[in-house]
């Protein structure tokens, strides 16, 4: 789908105007991951590596089919494998493609102090601009999904770009293109939401997954990557998908009220000392260069 040139609607650590702010697109983009049809083939992992040009990295066997324990700065996209046994002994093997969720209210962008290091395009993609990244990793703190990963060699943070380069050129993200089963879909948020709801309804009515639902968490304003889950009440079973993700309250407090209070306090402080100078001026030397001191001391000592 062509989304035309990417307009920026939010910029991290930025004081001036934002070119795309208040402009509205005809649609937001969205990746739909139908977890109920994911077969854990890892084609998306390979496609992601190949498109982004990341080389071989060494992995070790860890009693799982999962490629590595967590995402890495050069591994944006990881299928998390989780075995789950129900109360009645039914085994399920949950495979969830984990990557940046591209939140509508991105905690990373909110937390980021570096001007332009994180941008949010008007189509909803949240993208890191490594040339502006200062490596402070506040985005790591701001993210409720534990996504951004730090490259300690270059001191830059990386994460899934939703292939903003491909999307900007009218292509789908690489993972979508590689997915063999059609578990991954890409389109407008409205369309994907509708597709996801249809699928969830089908699962509820036609299969034993009576609790199927769509994961599009409101706590971060919705996401531009949404899931269809077998059991919407237990997202944590899918490798720690938070049930109700929110930008941490500490980050909200820090970047919100506390910042304004701090600004005011500093301003008041400076104004206060200035006022003091105007009102009282500098202290004067009241003692002579030499002479009796004890008397003076006595005299000056109040009771």
């Amino acid at each position: 789908m062509s989304n035309g040139p990417l307009d920026i609607k939010a910029i991290s650590g930025h004081a001036g105007p934002v070119p795309g702010r208040n402009t509205s697109r005809t649609y937001d983009v969205c990746k739909l991951i139908d977890v109920t049809t994911c077969i854990g083939c890892k084609a998306c992992e390979v496609a992601c590596l190949e498109w982004n040009g990341y080389p071989f990295r060494e992995t070790v066997f860890d009693n799982t089919y999962q490629t590595m324990p967590d995402l890495a700065w050069n591994y944006y996209n990881l299928i998390r494998f989780n075995e789950h046994v129900d109360g009645d002994g039914t085994v399920s093997w949950l495979m969830r493609k984990d990557q940046c969720m591209h939140c509508a209210e991105p905690g990373c962008l909110i937390a980021c102090p570096a001007d332009g290091a994180i941008v949010q395009y008007s189509n909803g993609i949240v993208d890191f601009q490594q040339e502006h990244c200062i490596g402070c990793e506040y985005c790591v703190t701001g993210c409720p999904f534990n996504i951004p990963k730090f490259n300690s060699a270059t001191k830059k943070v990386h994460k899934c770009t939703l292939c903003s380069d491909r999307v900007g050129a009218g292509l789908e993200p690489a993972c979508i293109k590689a997915c063999p089963t059609g578990c991954l879909h890409f389109g407008s948020k409205d369309d994907m939401k509708a597709l996801a709801e249809t699928r969830a309804k089908q699962l509820r009515e036609q299969t034993s997954h009576h609790n199927a639902g769509v994961y599009d968490p409101a706590g971060v304003g919705g996401t531009h990557v949404i899931y269809v889950l077998h059991d919407i009440d237990h997202p944590e079973r899918y490798g720690g998908l938070p049930k109700n993700p929110r930008v941490p309250w500490t980050v909200r407090l820090w970047k919100g009220p506390l910042k304004w209070l701090g600004d005011i306090a500093i301003a008041v402080g400076i104004a206060g000392v200035a006022a003091h100078y105007i009102r009282y001026g500098p202290k004067k030397i009241t003692e002579p260069e030499s002479g009796e001191t004890a008397e003076t001391a006595k005299k000056g000592e109040p009771q």
Partner: protein
């Protein structure tokens, strides 16, 4: 305990040494590193001040040096603690001084108790900066290398961010007053912390007890 507790030989002009060379080096290391951390920290704190980071090299440069100079600042603080701890102990007289601090603010110093080497305000500033520095470094450590914090403990970093910010704001408030007083409010202070010497009149005016003890004009304190 420290050399600064004694007064050096009077200089030809009659000035007396208030800060030794070591103390001055120590002060300026601490002060300048604080200043750097302040400037870069403010850049990270507010988009409106991000230009400070750009001016100081670049965002990444500032991010790189901020924690390192933060550690230097803390080391300076610890050195300071080593040199000045005894001078900074808060005594009964300080409490009385603080009760009448409005007189100090209003430049009615004659209504205040006589002061030792440092007055109660300076001591308070000192302790605020000392504990502030400890907090900044402790919280800063978590901000410095967050990738070593396990995911389950990610909330710690959020708390540390808040601590860092609040501690920084507290020190900033104190720092504003410190700079104002050093530069504008108490003439002679800058000379003291740069050359090490103050005039006898200055010493008698502001730190009479110290002056008396240092010059042997008066019995020892207490």
């Amino acid at each position: 305990m420290s050399a600064a507790s004694n007064v050096a030989q009077s200089s030809p002009t009659g000035a007396i040494e208030r800060y030794t060379f070591r103390e001055r080096v120590m002060h300026w290391i601490t002060g300048l590193t604080y200043l750097y951390c302040l400037a870069t920290g403010l850049a990270f704190y507010s988009p409106h001040l991000y230009w400070l980071a750009t001016m100081l090299g670049s965002g990444p440069t500032s991010r790189f040096w901020h924690p390192i100079l933060g550690v230097v600042f803390l080391m300076g603080t610890l050195w300071m603690q080593n040199l000045w701890r005894r001078d900074m102990e808060i005594a009964e007289t300080d409490r009385r001084w603080l009760d009448r601090v409005e007189n100090y603010i209003a430049n009615r110093d004659e209504l205040l108790p006589l002061q030792e080497r440092f007055n109660a305000g300076q001591k308070l500033f000192y302790w605020l900066m000392f504990y502030g520095a400890l907090l900044l470094l402790l919280s800063g450590f978590f901000l410095w290398l967050p990738e070593y914090i396990p995911r389950q403990a990610a909330w710690i970093r959020g708390v540390m961010v808040l601590i860092h910010e609040i501690a920084a704001l507290a020190t900033i408030g104190a720092f504003i007053i410190h700079v104002y007083m050093g530069v504008f409010m108490v003439p002679g202070s800058m000379t003291a912390i740069t050359t090490g010497f103050v005039s006898r009149a200055w010493a008698r005016t502001h730190h009479r007890l110290w002056y008396m003890r240092a010059t042997g004009d008066a019995p020892a304190r207490k």
